[in-house]
């Protein structure tokens, strides 16, 4: 079976530093594929390469067998690749609802959105945006400026925006980072629901520090260290892999 998303030998250097070094990654349809590794391992850079924001020095990216290496972020997004960032990227000075509306507008695949009726008076647009907020449980904060939301709610809003338009691939960079324990648990629960979406959830690449989240969600885990993949496999195999334990898990997860 063709993997939904495939990275073939991707590398990226920053000056003398090789941040990502010949990484191979296959993500199957509907799979939650966690990428773990110590700080500076190259996880965010890899995600950036997958999303088209970081240009690789070598290697190829395929989406459903189609080569997308040369396409920019926007084109890949239109092909069904959605993402969240390590530092939450939402439109701070618009409301949560307006943020969701932007995601809906993007998913409409419109030409340059024209002189139609006022966006705030378009029932179809508003309903779709409210539905997106409801899906992550923040419909109550619809009219709050996104920048004023609690950190956890901002992350949920970012996820809500990524989910609009039912992406084929969801790239998540530490979705629980910086959230409190309750918010973190809520996010894991949310992602579990996304994974089990009726009719099949998106394939996910989940970069995550919180190993509880990883072991709760992941079908497979890729472990990175110093830009390289040092292990890849189902959670149980990775958990007991001596290389991984040495490089990353240490004694914390015995």
């Amino acid at each position: 079976m063709t993997p939904r998303l495939r990275a073939r030998g991707v590398s990226r250097r920053f000056g003398a530093l090789v941040a990502v070094d010949g990484v191979e990654l296959d993500v199957m349809s509907g799979e939650v594929h966690a990428v773990i590794g110590p700080n500076g391992a190259g996880k965010s850079t890899l995600l950036g390469i997958l999303a088209g924001e970081v240009r690789p020095d070598a290697g190829e990216i395929f989406l459903d067998g189609q080569r997308v290496t040369g396409l920019d972020t926007a084109r890949r997004a239109r092909l069904g690749m959605a993402r969240s960032f390590q530092v939450t990227a939402i439109v701070q000075d618009l409301t949560a609802l307006q943020n969701a509306m932007l995601a809906v507008i993007a998913a409409e695949r419109g030409r340059i959105p024209g002189l139609g009726r006022p966006a705030m008076a378009d029932p179809t647009l508003l309903a779709a945006a409210r539905e997106a907020l409801r899906a992550v449980g923040i419909e109550g904060a619809a009219d709050v400026a996104a920048g004023s939301l609690a950190h956890g709610a901002q992350r949920q809003l970012e996820l809500a925006m990524a989910l609009v338009g039912r992406p084929r691939v969801l790239l998540l960079d530490e979705p629980t980072a910086g959230t409190g324990p309750d918010e973190g648990r809520a996010m894991i629960e949310l992602l579990r629901r996304v994974k089990t979406t009726p009719g099949g959830g998106p394939s996910m690449v989940l970069v995550e520090h919180d190993l509880d989240a990883v072991f709760a969600l992941a079908d497979r885990i890729t472990v990175m260290a110093q830009g390289r993949v040092i292990a890849c496999g189902p959670p149980e195999a990775v958990r007991t892999d001596p290389l991984v334990r040495a490089a990353y898990l240490g004694d914390a997860h015995r």
């Binding site: 997004a77 990227a89 307006q98 419109g110 959105p113 966006a119």
Partner: protein, 310 residues
């Protein structure tokens, strides 16, 4: 006061103004009001890209020049139809905006400011080099423009025409920023990364806004030439572009009607202070510093803070 009442009052004042200046025997103030309307159009056009798009264009006076020279060049060849002047200005202004916008929009921030400034100066020197059309000195327009039965050389007629353009562009601008287009523009101003990750190509929206803005400001240039019966390169100096930026910031960014208020206040201040002292620039500067410090949202923000935060 609610918004509708404010608009009605503004409309009423604009409608009664010609009667008032007549009654007072002060036709000069009617011409002054026309001047405000003209610059309000240009400032409003700039607010579309500056306020909503976050793009600091320091070359918008170029469009005033394009409009003014559309009138000037046609008039010097005996073509006095305002419709022809306007159509030319709209077309040339939009094409110039498209051509320079494609280049300038590859950059953001300070680089964008510098590139728009550079293009503006290029057009300035192009006008200076047009010896057949007055070169450095500019040229006086001996024949007033006409629009069908309307004689634009008549101050009162020109006032109504300028007001009509302003009202039309205000309505168009409001419609535009309230539509999906405006939401996308604001999103891109605030978080381009997120917009790209959603699948938008913000440059396209910015270019559309820039072209529209340029076309609008070009009409202001036409009206400026109609009002002064004169065109010269000084209409498109970079100082003029700077004044337009000040008008928008002074009135309040990303509001459209703030640009109108900013134009009125700046022109009135210039007028009043220039009569008082030759150091009026100094006083004007002080006023701007105070407004900028008291309210980040310009003069409109001053009114709003007294009603509590948004």
């Amino acid at each position: 006061m609610d918004r509708r009442a404010t608009w009605l009052l503004a409309l009423l004042a604009a409608g009664l103004l010609p009667l008032a200046t007549d009654a007072l025997g002060q036709p000069y103030y009617l011409a002054f009001a026309t001047r405000i309307a003209v610059f309000a159009i240009a400032a409003l056009a700039l607010d579309l890209v500056l306020g909503y798009g976050g793009l600091v264009s320091l070359g918008h006076a170029a469009f005033l020049g394009i409009g003014a020279y559309s009138v000037g060049i046609w008039s010097s060849h005996g073509v006095t139809s305002a419709a022809v002047h306007w159509a030319t200005a709209l077309a040339v202004g939009a094409c110039y905006a498209a051509a320079t916008g494609i280049v300038a929009l590859r950059t953001t921030g300070v680089a964008f400011i510098m590139i728009t400034l550079a293009f503006g100066q290029m057009l300035f020197f192009l006008a200076v080099s047009l010896k057949a059309y007055g070169g450095d000195d500019g040229m006086t327009l001996w024949q007033g423009a006409r629009l069908g039965p309307l004689d634009l050389a008549d101050d009162r007629t020109l006032y109504w025409v300028a007001l009509a353009w302003l009202a039309a562009f205000l309505a168009l601008g409001r419609r535009l920023v309230a539509a999906r287009f405006g939401l996308v523009l604001r999103g891109a101003k605030s978080n381009e990364r997120r917009m790209r990750a959603l699948g938008f190509t913000p440059t396209r929206h910015r270019l559309a806004a820039y072209v529209l803005s340029g076309a609008m400001a070009s009409i202001a240039g036409c009206l400026l030439a109609h009002a002064t019966d004169f065109v010269s390169p000084s209409y498109m100096g970079w100082q003029r572009s700077g004044e337009l930026v000040v008008m928008v910031v002074l009135g309040g960014l990303a509001t459209l009607h703030g640009a109108i208020i900013g134009a009125a206040v700046l022109l009135a201040l210039e007028e009043a202070l220039a009569g008082l002292t030759v150091h009026w620039m100094l006083i004007l500067g002080a006023v701007l510093v105070v407004v900028a410090n008291v309210s980040r949202r310009g003069l409109l923000g001053l009114g709003a803070t007294s009603r509590g935060p948004r």
